[in-house]
């Protein structure tokens, strides 16, 4: 498209090899996996293979994978699915969660759950002391994302699990942004459920998975026929699932090279941003290597993004889902970032196809926009 895409956290292009694997399942191997005939069995085999790939990538058994239509559905299923089977008590959800965790949490609060949120420090990390207090007593469920989609800050999920285990609290983590950018091992994390989405890892949109611990049960949200062991009804999106499987396999295969590459690119990027006077949110925290969330004093985020867009760079202001709104990000609010700075927030998220040359061009464009916007602010 002639643009330089720097919004990989919003979505990613489907990898060519993922697409080639998916292709036959639209027109040629089109069977319904529940059909008992040959045509259906081919679809079923493909789904089983994909399930194995996803399981390997996360370090679990295939029967711990539930395929869904994406990250939002996986998060909805985790929260509502767990809540449906345990007595109503306290639900702890961090204030920096994606809407697809926050909003279901509010729904559960409507149904009588006591919704509590831990504090978040100025680096964007959930406060573990707060957590320790909230996870005692009558607490049933906690959800904390593994990496934040806006700041990229990695949350101490394994520590939270240890706190939770003392009181028998179920732990869910939204790993939609983390998976593919950092190592994700289900057993090392120790969580009871974990969400991933295809379209953040160079797989197709419209497909994701919820990984659950063995022995843990959920109430299904989509009821109907007995797909996914009765946990998620609906004719399987075979092509999508095949795509997700291959995307997961590639995540593991490419982890090292991608990590190195992203670190190099973002190192250069952030040096450049700071040289121009930009403030990077969550700078001191441990972050995934592709995300840079920053602002310039007295420069409005959406205006800067529009200028950058004019110059051929696709960036985001806040998360894609809320990019139509003009309120500042609740994540920055929770971190205590003052409004005048939060309003300038821009997110650049890099990916496999980002190059150092792109970064240099971006920095040059950023310099141009920032200078011109500062000048016009000065003149106003």
């Amino acid at each position: 498209m002639g643009m330089i895409y720097c919004d990989y956290n919003a979505t990613t292009p489907v990898d060519e090899s993922v697409f080639e694997l998916m292709r036959p399942f639209f027109c040629d191997h089109y069977g319904n996996a529940s059909s008992r005939h040959q045509v259906g069995r081919i679809a079923k085999v493909a789904i089983d293979e994909a399930r194995n790939k996803v399981a390997n990538a996360i370090g679990v058994q295939p029967d711990q994978i539930i395929f869904t239509s994406g990250g939002t559905e996986s998060n909805n299923l985790a929260l509502k699915g767990f809540a449906g089977l345990i007595p109503v008590s306290r639900l702890v959800v961090s204030p920096i969660e994606h809407a697809s965790v926050r909003v279901p949490a509010h729904e559960l609060a409507w149904l009588g759950w006591e919704l509590k949120q831990p504090g978040v420090n100025s680096d964007g990390v959930v406060d573990l002391e707060d957590m320790a207090q909230l996870l005692t007593g009558k607490c049933g469920l906690v959800s904390v994302m593994l990496a934040n989609n806006e700041t990229g800050v990695i949350q101490p999920v394994a520590d939270i699990v240890k706190l939770a285990q003392k009181s028998g609290v179920l732990v869910h983590t939204d790993a939609v942004q983390a998976f593919g950018k950092m190592r994700v091992d289900f057993d090392l994390l120790g969580v009871d459920a974990l969400s991933i989405a295809g379209h953040k890892i160079y797989g197709p949109k419209g497909v994701g998975a919820l990984v659950i611990r063995k022995g843990v049960d959920l109430m299904p949200v989509l009821t109907g026929a007995s797909h996914e062991r009765g946990l998620r009804a609906g004719t399987e999106n075979v092509a999508g699932i095949v795509g997700l499987g291959e995307a997961c396999r590639l995540v593991i295969e490419r982890m090292n090279t991608v990590e190195t590459h992203l670190k190099e690119c973002s190192g250069r990027l952030e040096t450049g941003i700071e040289a121009l006077g930009g403030v990077i949110f969550g700078r001191k925290a441990s972050r995934v290597p592709n995300t840079s969330y920053f602002a310039f004093e007295n420069i409005d985020g959406p205006v800067l993004a529009a200028r950058l867009d004019d110059l051929g760079f696709c960036v985001a202001t806040g998360s894609a889902c809320s990019s139509g709104k003009t309120e500042p990000s609740p994540v920055l609010d929770a971190m205590g970032v003052p409004l005048h700075l939060a309003r300038g927030a821009i997110r650049v998220s890099l990916g496999m196809h980002s190059t150092i040359a792109d970064i240099e061009e971006f920095l040059s464009a950023l310099n141009q926009c920032v200078s011109s916007l500062h000048r016009s602010a000065a003149c106003a």
Partner: protein
């Protein structure tokens, strides 16, 4: 000129799923790798391109069923649409009443959802159908109560292909102030759907039954008068807050194109399919003791559901492995129970068990139909030779009078 050779297995299971039409696939594919933007991204052209494609597709869906595009919500499929419609409406309107009405031959996505609502304290009436598979308008009318808030009746049945009297049911619901939900997953591209004249409040659609991709569907939610729903998938507020989740552009483009083709080609295609189905029917009724399940007139031309007496269902499926067909609906074919739809028609277990659903589609050829007729004749003959029940029938024994020694 139609080809005379056939490729095995012959696919006659279009009601279970359909191949994506190559024209649909080529329209979809650029949105996977090239125009891959998130349609919710407001800040760049990748997002805008994707959003435009989504809105075009929404128009296409709306045009096929003659509604306003703002009345179409994207979902991950008909199962989700059914869940959203039924639970969403029941939860929203529960202060007005807690009684729901449906009928016994609905897809499991409706029946199971109704059962879940029963567990929540709603009361559900499951209507019987007539022997021809149709809901009686009078029975339906008498089932409605002052505290009924929602009825759900499918437009076309997936197993027997019968077309329910939705126009009449809609009028009744409108008069009584009851919301009507219709599962139209099997109907698009097969019957005219005119939401300007049907008094329907909610309608579920599936792409993969109409030569579109799997994993995408839609729900029609009437605006005038406005129907309210409690969303079931919460998050970023997509689809006007009714269904959150990043929109899968390529899937939506596929569904839009599939529905456009359906609108443009349905008339001609139905005639061709009807011809093929009638040919198949003529060939099969020559076999003794075959029974057609479901009304023959009020039925889509694509479906033929036949029971073969005195032959066991599983051995029949094994015998015809050169055909990809269904015995019972695809979703429930893993279980050993006979089809609940056929039982609801009053078929006994054996006839329900020994039924085959043939569903014809866009790519079915005359040669395939002729091969099928031949194969069925041969295999039924062979299985009946092996069948003690057929032997007894031929000897004039009334099997209903026999004392069986079941173990």
């Amino acid at each position: 000129m139609e080809q005379n050779t056939v490729n095995l297995p012959i696919y006659l299971d279009y009601s279970a799923t359909t191949p994506v039409d190559p024209r649909v696939a080529s329209k979809m594919i650029p949105y996977l790798t090239e125009y891959f933007g998130n349609p919710a991204s407001r800040s760049h052209v990748y997002g805008w391109t994707a959003e435009k494609a989504v809105e075009n597709a929404r128009n296409e869906v709306a045009m096929l069923v003659r509604c306003d595009p703002r009345e179409i919500i994207w979902t991950s499929g008909a199962t989700e649409s059914n869940n959203l419609a039924i639970k969403g409406a029941a939860h929203f309107y529960k202060s007005k009443g807690r009684h729901l009405v449906t009928e016994k031959t609905e897809h499991k996505a409706v029946l199971d959802t109704m059962r879940e609502l029963e567990r929540e304290g709603f009361e559900v009436t499951y209507l019987d159908v007539e022997e021809n598979g149709l809901v009686s308008v009078d029975t339906f009318r008498s089932a409605l109560r002052p505290d009924t808030i929602l009825a759900s009746v499918m437009l076309v049945n997936n197993e027997i292909g019968v077309i329910q009297p939705i126009y009449e049911l809609g009028e009744i619901c409108c008069q009584q102030g009851v919301l009507l939900h219709v599962d139209a997953a099997q109907a698009t591209g097969k019957v005219e759907i005119d939401l300007q004249s049907l008094q329907v409040d909610l309608m579920s659609f599936s792409a993969h039954k109409t030569y579109g991709p799997k994993g995408i569907g839609a729900l029609y939610v009437r605006r005038k008068p406005r129907v309210r729903l409690e969303g079931q998938m919460h998050g970023g507020g997509h689809e006007r807050g009714l269904r959150s989740g990043t929109l899968a552009t390529h899937q939506i483009v596929g569904m839009g194109e599939a529905f456009r083709l359906a609108r443009e080609e349905m008339g001609v295609e139905n005639e061709r399919v009807r011809y093929l189905r009638d040919r198949l029917l003529a060939g099969l009724v020559q076999i003794e003791e075959t029974y057609i399940n479901g009304d023959l007139i009020k039925r889509v031309p694509h479906n033929l559901n036949v029971s073969f007496n005195f032959v066991e269902g599983e051995s029949l499926i094994m015998a015809i492995k050169d055909l990809a067909v269904s015995s019972g609906s695809a979703c429930t074919s893993a279980s050993l129970e006979p089809s609940y739809v056929l039982r609801a028609l009053g078929r006994n277990d054996e006839l329900a068990h020994s039924s085959i659903r043939f569903s014809i589609g866009r790519f079915t050829t005359e040669a395939e139909i002729d091969f099928t007729i031949d194969l069925i004749r041969k295999k039924i003959g062979r299985l009946r030779e092996m069948s003690p029940l057929w032997e007894m029938f031929k000897e004039g024994i009334d099997l209903n009078q026999v004392q069986w020694s079941a173990h």
